[in-house]
């Protein structure tokens, strides 16, 4: 089944006529993603790789039929409006690729998304891929590479670092382990779908039998995954690799953050919490395929 995207998902690309938009549309269509339209205000009527370009998402919806997913490649300052436009038009899943999106803009997007029952990955994401089915964003860079690096299988991958998303998946592929869906949740402090939300999707997905997660210092995402496991809401085997051990600890945003979160966010806190609830926390990337093989064997499925 995979999560979030399949070959049947109908996709619109916002910012399709820009530098990144064009190149990555190529990646997506070559890979098999069903891109039905592009949107660039002011460039309606044109085409990119034979994909019709419209002025608005609403127009794309009217002319091409229902749209499941929008992938956004517009400059950071314009992301908020593009995302709100897509959600308003009825799109239920967004992939927001650009980085440097102001945090209050992200909060506004999250607020409207919640109202409309929509979700998003990003901002600051390479995107996601359900191997053999479809890719969103720019992960893999080119279709032939994405096909070579990522193979269909039963391991879910969720990562806060773009490069590590690809690296973990590639090393799994090399070890003969395929992936169900690979998600780069995005590198920012506030993202649409964070680790715990992705875990809940993997929990419901039949194809996914175990999950590999790359965490980083800062935010409470990894701790919240531990909370989920404790509450019995995520029950599949989980391998976690947390980056930032060498980073200077103790840098807090503010007193206010510490008052609410206590010591959450540090490397130690994350690793401890995850270990406490039975997650296999590894110390290097090369251990991930090894542990995955071991867990798959012992799970007896």
């Amino acid at each position: 089944m995979a999560i979030l995207v399949s070959e049947k998902s109908r996709v619109v690309v916002q910012g399709i006529t820009g530098r990144e938009g064009m190149v990555r549309t190529r990646l997506m269509t070559d890979y098999g993603t069903h891109v039905v339209a592009g949107v660039t205000p002011g460039k309606g009527g044109g085409e990119v790789y034979e994909i019709p370009v419209y002025d608005t998402v609403e127009e794309a919806w009217e002319k091409c039929g229902p749209i499941d997913i929008s992938v956004i490649f517009v400059p950071a300052a314009l992301v908020k409006n593009a995302a709100l436009e897509a959600i308003d038009a009825g799109v239920k899943f967004l992939t927001i690729v650009p980085d440097r999106v102001p945090i209050f803009d992200v909060l506004e997007i999250a607020r409207l998304a919640k109202d409309r029952g929509a979700v998003f990955v990003g901002p600051n994401t390479l995107g996601l891929v359900s191997p053999g089915k479809a890719v969103l964003g720019m992960i893999g860079g080119r279709a032939e590479r994405a096909r070579e690096w990522f193979r269909p299988g039963d391991i879910g991958v969720s990562s806060r670092s773009g490069g590590m998303t690809s690296a973990i998946s590639y090393y799994l592929t090399e070890a003969g382990l395929g992936q169900s869906t690979i998600v780069h949740v995005g590198g920012d402090a506030v993202v649409g779908l964070s680790h715990p939300e992705v875990m809940e999707l993997f929990e419901k997905d039949e194809q996914t039998r175990l999950v590999a997660m790359f965490g980083e210092i800062g935010t409470t995402q990894e701790e919240r995954v531990a909370d989920l496991i404790e509450e019995g809401k995520f029950t599949k085997p989980l391998i976690a690799y947390v980056g930032g051990k060498a980073a200077k600890s103790g840098t807090r945003f503010s007193h206010a953050g510490a008052i609410v979160e206590g010591t959450r966010g540090s490397y130690k806190s994350k690793v401890q919490r995850l270990r406490d609830v039975g997650v296999r926390v590894v110390e290097s990337i090369s251990e991930i395929p090894k542990v995955a093989l071991e867990l798959r064997g012992s799970s007896g499925r």
Binding site: R19, E20, A76, A77, D99, R100, V101, P102, I103, F104, V106, L107, E108, A110, R111, K114, M138, G140, G141, R142, R145, W149, S159, R160, S161, G162, G163, M164, S166, A167, S169, Y170, E174, G187, A189, V190, V191, S194, F214, E216, T220, Q221, R224, G243, G244, K245, A246, A247, T251, F253, S254, H255, A256, G257, A258, I259, V260, G262, S284, I285
Partner: protein, 529 residues
């Protein structure tokens, strides 16, 4: 996060209608005296540096008279506190404090909304107090579309045990604090302590406001020089690097120095990571091999070759590093040959002598490694390129072996010389620099390979010489992606007719200062002998 100084934050609070103590920021003892003369009452003098717990560090003084204020200011100004030198102090009226509270706004990543926090106890040690007395702390998520409503603020304050007129005064401050945070895109904004005076007024006695780095562009009025958090003032080299990042939006370039000075005998590495996660993994590998990091640097997000070139030039402006280590996640989506070309241009210009280990795993890594191997064989240093199947640990080991092999020579800074461009050269501007093609040399060229090498296809042949195939304006606006392929091709396969000039403002002077400093030192040493 870009932190504001207390006096800057207080200005924003005052403009929003929050009461703050009367006073002024000063940078000389005389100014401090003048402020007290004008105020005519006892004052507090507070150093304006980004440290917490200033009182414990001797950064807070009190004065009852102008003369005393002048003396105390003299004591504080120029003082070294942690990594900062005190340049400014805030002189303001001393409040008659009855009680202290805490108010803060943060962004809650789990709820994806702002969160307003209020505590009926405040002051130093607030974190511990909050742990011991959770009943005195309350928080409420704020609807981003509606803001913090008056009644929400009142309910929040009431939950900490405060009632009556005071409840109204404090909740009024909270709604205003939220407005300031929202208006200025604050990543966090706190008032600590919030003070109730003997007269019954509520003041913001101190505040910490940090602006979202990604929103700094919306607030030129704040005058933020570098939109990043530092635990010390940025170094000159960091300022140079930040300027590069600011002028070129293609990809990320982040540069941070990890040490002030690198002794010749110590094992420091110039580090060029790519991507947050991959950089952390690579740093761990190099640290575990017994090295120190001279700097942290991240070139990722599909940077142009010119940006990577500039990053390398800046990394190589750190004297005495023993090696150049570049490594990211190992499986990058971006085309890795751009980074390879940027490094080739930089290493070649520098006539690099210290070894380099370049792990460029990802899209087109074979081509990237080939570029390094083909074009760096003539420089004194050994530079090795690796791909996704070579682990960071292996690459760190190679770094160590290469450094040991060449006797651990320290990197020496070279002056930056502008290349001689023929007056008759064909010159056009590109996004962050300019390209000069010496057509007189093109006569001897048989392949005209620069035209084919140019990925965006902006060159064409006119009378057998390469010229722009697009307008000069388009080339400058970004049609030329600064991939450096034409220059590298021409340099190594043809007549060396192309010169791509990519200035880095301030770097030439920076290096000259370092070199001069060193020669001054030599003279002194020679005199001693």
């Amino acid at each position: 996060m870009s932190r504001l100084y207390e006096y800057q934050g207080k200005k924003l609070l005052r403009e929003a209608g929050i009461r703050v103590p009367e006073g002024e920021v000063v940078s000389t003892p005389e100014e401090a005296r003048d402020v007290v003369e004008r105020l005519g009452r006892p004052v507090v003098l507070k150093i304006q540096v980004w440290v917490t717990g200033r009182a414990g560090l001797g950064g807070i003084e009190f004065a009852d008279s102008p003369k005393e204020a002048e003396e105390k200011a003299r004591k504080l100004l120029g003082k070294k506190i942690k990594n900062y030198e005190v340049e400014k102090i805030l002189v303001e009226e001393k409040l008659a404090i009855r009680s202290e509270y805490f108010a803060g706004l943060i962004i809650d990543d789990a709820q994806k909304s702002p969160l307003m926090i209020f505590s009926s106890v405040g002051g130093t040690g607030i974190e511990e107090i909050a742990q011991e007395h959770p009943e005195k702390v309350a928080h409420v998520p704020v609807d981003i579309l509606k803001g913090l409503r008056d009644y929400e603020a009142r309910n929040l304050v009431r939950r900490t045990g405060i009632s009556g007129k005071l409840l109204l005064k404090i909740s009024d401050v909270l709604t205003k604090l939220y407005k300031v945070a929202r208006q200025y895109d604050a990543r966090s904004a706190e008032i600590n302590p919030m003070v109730l005076t003997e007269d019954g007024d509520v003041y913001a006695a101190d505040c910490h406001i940090a602006i979202d780095d990604y929103a700094v562009f919306r607030h030129p009025e704040l005058g933020i020089e570098i939109a990043r958090e530092f635990d010390r003032p940025p170094s000159d080299l960091e300022k140079i690097a930040y300027h590069v990042e600011k002028k070129d939006h293609r990809g990320t370039f982040y540069f941070l120095q990890m040490t002030d000075e690198i002794p010749k005998e110590d094992r420091y590495i110039g580090f060029n990571g790519a991507g947050g996660g991959g950089s952390m993994m690579s740093m761990d590998a190099i640290l575990n091999s017994g090295f120190h990091l001279a700097n942290y640097c991240d070139t990722s997000g599909n940077p142009s070759a010119s940006k990577v070139y500039r990053a390398a030039k800046i990394i190589l402006s750190q004297p005495n590093i023993k090696g150049y280590f570049a490594s990211g996640s190992g499986v990058a989506s971006q085309e890795q040959y751009h980074s390879a070309r940027g490094l080739v241009k930089a290493f070649y210009e520098e006539k690099l002598e210290i070894p380099g280990v370049i792990r460029l795993g990802g899209n087109y890594e074979e081509k990237a490694i080939e570029i390094l191997a083909a074009y760096l064989k003539d420089i004194p240093a050994e530079v090795e390129g690796y791909g996704r199947d070579d682990s960071p640990e292996f690459c760190a080991r190679r770094m160590k072996e290469l450094i040991d092999k060449n006797g651990s020579i320290p990197h020496e800074i070279r002056p930056i010389c502008d290349s001689d461009v023929s007056v008759d050269a064909y010159v056009f501007e590109i996004f962050t620099g300019k390209i000069a093609i010496d057509h007189s040399k093109c006569v001897l060229c048989t392949s005209k390979g620069c035209v084919d090498a140019c990925a965006p296809g902006i060159l064409k042949l006119l009378n057998d010489k390469p010229v722009l195939a697009v307008t000069e304006e388009d080339a400058k606006k970004g049609k030329c992606t600064e991939c450096l392929a034409c220059e590298i091709f021409c340099q190594f396969h043809e007549q060396n007719a192309i010169d791509i000039h990519l200035p880095i403002p301030g770097l030439k002077e920076y290096r000259n200062r370092l070199i001069k400093g060193r020669s001054d030192l030599k003279t002194i040493e020679e005199e001693k002998v």
